[in-house]
Chain length 138, copies 3
């Protein structure tokens, strides 16, 4: 049984969905583990992770519209030190995932046909985001 | 240290909660691992997973009502190729879980008394859903 | 490769966010594993877990306000045997996490600077909550 870890840096261009499926696959290829468990961990509270459809970009647009409606910038937040997008970002992160684990079978993540792994940037401005990848298996 | 994997197929009858706790327990029994980590992974973006109460079915009814209210079919979605239940399904999946990991102690999942593992079908029509189970431990 | 488990008991004072980052760190210290995967599992359906900012308590206040708005006590729930906070608690739990897994690097959880691990008590009254910690690595 072996382990591998990698720190992944994603430079976001502000609010939006950034697909990292290829970076995750690259990590798996280099680790040369046939069967195991891959974990993707986001080290932020105003960015998060989600597995969603990677075929039609309109899905991402609708998800963004949904998140903007459910956690609007205009609400009366107590915490607004960093601007009107600050607290909505924490809410969006709480509603989605900070961590995803995916079984690895035959050296690849056992994702479904339409599943992509996305980093969700919830702040308006560009940020440098740190993701930790961990793999255990053999 | 050992690993085991299984592909679980669930035939859903359309939108609703389908308990898979027994199938997960069956996998654990056959794997004969005393202490470890079990991962349940859903290979879809319009179906998902959740651990919730399995005692009173009214909890599932109220959760369904909540999800229908928060992600209504009537909203103006850009992505609606597969019908009015298409985009709400992706939103429901994003708000719940694609993956669940549960510690295994004494050969069984360390679930609480009232916890059941559910597959959530978010589309109106019946679907065949693929779940991957992964176990590591000894 | 080794494993360690611990049962963590948290006495909550009713609805609110209870930080358990220090208890998790204590478990990691005693386990003496350098690289691995830590899993935190909540054995309840009316309490849950979340990783969010642990610097400004106003973030927790705003998250509480958000959850109270999205899952209000006044709605017409079918399941209300245990009072008006019963079903909202299940909804809040479904929208947040029952389980969190965090890579361990250099003997510590790879949390970001502002990330804390929280138990979310969703019921009004104090409860005794069980959390299971699992660690695998070497």
């Amino acid at each position: 049984m072996q382990q591998a870890t990698r720190r992944l840096r994603v430079e976001t261009g502000g609010r939006g969905f950034y697909e990292i499926t290829a970076s995750v696959a690259d990590f798996l290829r280099s680790a040369r583990i046939d069967t195991g468990l891959l974990t993707v961990f986001c080290r932020h509270t105003s960015a998060s992770l989600s597995i969603t459809e990677n075929a039609d970009p309109n899905v991402l647009r609708d998800l963004e519209t949904f998140l903007a409606r459910i956690a609007p910038e205009g609400a009366a937040y107590v915490h607004d030190d960093e601007g009107p997008d600050d607290m909505p970002a924490h809410i969006r992160a709480a509603l989605t995932q900070t961590q995803l684990s995916i079984p690895v079978i035959g050296g690849a993540a056992a994702l479904g046909t339409w599943q992509g792994v996305f980093l969700l940037e919830h702040r308006r401005h560009p940020h440098r985001r740190d993701i930790v990848l961990h793999l255990i298996g053999e």
